[in-house]
Symmetry: C2
Subunit: 330 residues, 2 copies
DNA sequence: ATGAAAGCGCTAACAC
DNA sequence: GTGTTAGCGCTTTCAT
């Protein structure tokens, strides 16, 4: 069907070794033969089989990335940052979305067999699975999830900025803050809550927690229904933007006016947050992926000593959903 | 380093052929040997090398998908739909973002060497490259780009809904419509413009075209600067949502009130469009990717006869940016 | 039911 | 500078 190295060798009247050499380093064969090989190769429309090459070199020249989902801008942006660096390093990128499927562990293990290393994002598979892979010698980097012993990790700062957020809310006059989100769902949420509580403590205000079923607009909307109209907190700090947006929309339907009656904040700074005038926290998503890709490459190339754990800075973005003074008051 | 089929065979006291059989179809070896092989395999923590397997079977069990970018929800959602189906079919997914790089053609060719088939989205590589791949026997499906001779394609309906959009704008009282976007940039944009013109013609209103430098918020903002305050059209139909959002924001800064002074529409129905109350057109992005994945699989499995060209329906979503009657009038 | 052996398409010693 | 020859780890006839 498709031409192999042997076909080219025959046609050029040389050995397969010479073809191999000519293809991978033109400077180590004579100009004469180089020409003949190139001619033969282009005549036959020859492309070296990556499979043959990979098996012989015993490497895949490919890296994998595992994430829960790609809906919502969050992981998409991280994956993009990852792809940019990985492809620059000459490695193909394999993706795997787990979608919370129970078979995730097996899928990740299969994926690991197809690449030289793996980046694992967020709540996808258990630490046990990762430790198993690491034990088998699979180069690993985690991102946006709690560090695993001995495995490089990259994440975005949570507690500090959450603390600043609490301070900001207190400055705006809030005395009671409700945190919307389930700390059990992810370590990111946990850290955000912890930071918020620390900041609230310092400002002498209280924090209550309201868990949600899902971290999307629907989860926010459902939470809104559950709130007693007579007893609203001064502010609601949501675990992410989608919750906040769903919440605000549902509250508006009930006649609650943000920020006059109630302050609302999110987390992530997705595009829609700008148009909804939502106060939130911006994360360097692209960088998260890019840094993970570099860590992984360092590991694969054997350029690292101790496991690294990098925490990228985040930034509080104040908009009118939490800042009546400067905001609109529609 | 890691155990091979030979290690397992030795340990189980059988031949490598038997190990291979036991691994891929337990029912064709005796219960006795099956047990011994499984024991040995788990003792050695053996996982069959996908590379060895792939080379022997001469297939990759992987498909590729090529797209311009993943920022913005558009391609991310398509890729996700693709991944869902592909991974269900037991195939790994390789991604490649071209970012308008000149080396795109070569990158795609390399990618083609690593998988059993390819889906190519949008403005990434020229038709020439695709024809070359098709000639080499690479199974191909295009999506969100004009069909190439002999290659399956999937896309979203443009002209019909664009026509409906023109009718809607005319119904709202618009007499002059400006189309914001560069038809030269993609066939999608071209078709949207053509449909809009057809609809405008039928309604007896005029359409002008204003090309943009880029199809994002910045492009929209720049376009806003270029508009003469005194001579605004009645409506601006943008080639996508990001343009429309950037345009509206910039116009608001100049004191132009949407929709009172001017109607604005987008295309795509991204999340931010809802919060900006933007009239737009919704596309079945997830389906686009899923359908492409199925077409590709059919092709690879040899289940197709003639090339197929599927066009998925789209839907006009009217919000207050183009509908003063029912909308807000902030 | 199992084993021996010939590939799959390439790279990399090792000769010459 | 080039050819010969082993592999890389698996699947798959073909015997037995």
């Amino acid at each position: 069907m498709t031409a192999t190295i042997r076909d080219v060798a025959r046609r050029a009247g040389v050995s397969i070794a010479t073809v191999s050499r000519a293809m991978r380093d033109p400077s180590i064969v004579s100009a004469q033969t180089l020409h003949r090989v190139q001619e033969a190769a282009s005549d036959l429309d020859y492309t070296p089989s990556q499979l043959g090459r990979q098996l012989a070199e015993r490497r895949h020249a490919a890296n994998g990335i595992v994430f829960p989902d790609l809906s919502g801008p969050y992981y998409a942006e991280v994956v993009l940052g990852y792809e940019a660096v990985a492809s620059e390093l000459g490695r193909a990128v394999l993706i795997l979305a787990t979608h919370g499927r129970p078979a995730a562990a097996e899928m990740v293990t299969r994926l690991a067999g197809r690449c030289d290393g793996l980046v694992v994002l967020g709540p996808t598979v258990s630490d046990t699975v990762l430790l198993g892979l690491a034990a088998r010698g699979v180069p690993l980097v985690t991102a946006a999830r709690p560090p695993v012993a001995g495995v490089d990790s990259v994440s975005a700062e949570n507690a500090g900025t959450a603390r600043a957020l609490a301070t900001h809310l207190a400055d705006q006059g809030a005395r009671t803050v409700l945190f919307l989100g389930d700390p059990a769902l992810s370590s990111d949420v946990q850290e955000r809550l912890a930071g918020l509580e620390a900041g609230a403590d310092a400002a002498g205000i209280g924090v209550r927690v309201l868990p949600v079923s899902s971290m999307d607009e629907e989860g926010g909307a459902r939470a809104a229904e559950g709130l007693a109209s007579g007893d609203l907190p001064d502010a609601i700090a949501c675990a992410n933007d989608e919750l906040a947006l769903g919440l605000m929309t549902a509250l508006r339907t009930r006649g609650v006016v943000v920020p006059r009656d109630l302050l609302v904040t999110g987390w992530d700074d997705i595009m829609a947050a700008r148009y909804a005038e939502l106060t939130t926290v911006r994360q360097p998503l692209h960088d998260l992926g890019a840094t993970a890709a570099r860590f992984l490459d360092d590991f694969i190339a054997g350029r690292r000593s101790e496991p690294r754990h990098e925490v990228l800075p985040t930034e509080l973005i104040v908009r009118s959903s939490s800042s009546p003074a400067k905001g609109d008051n529609q």
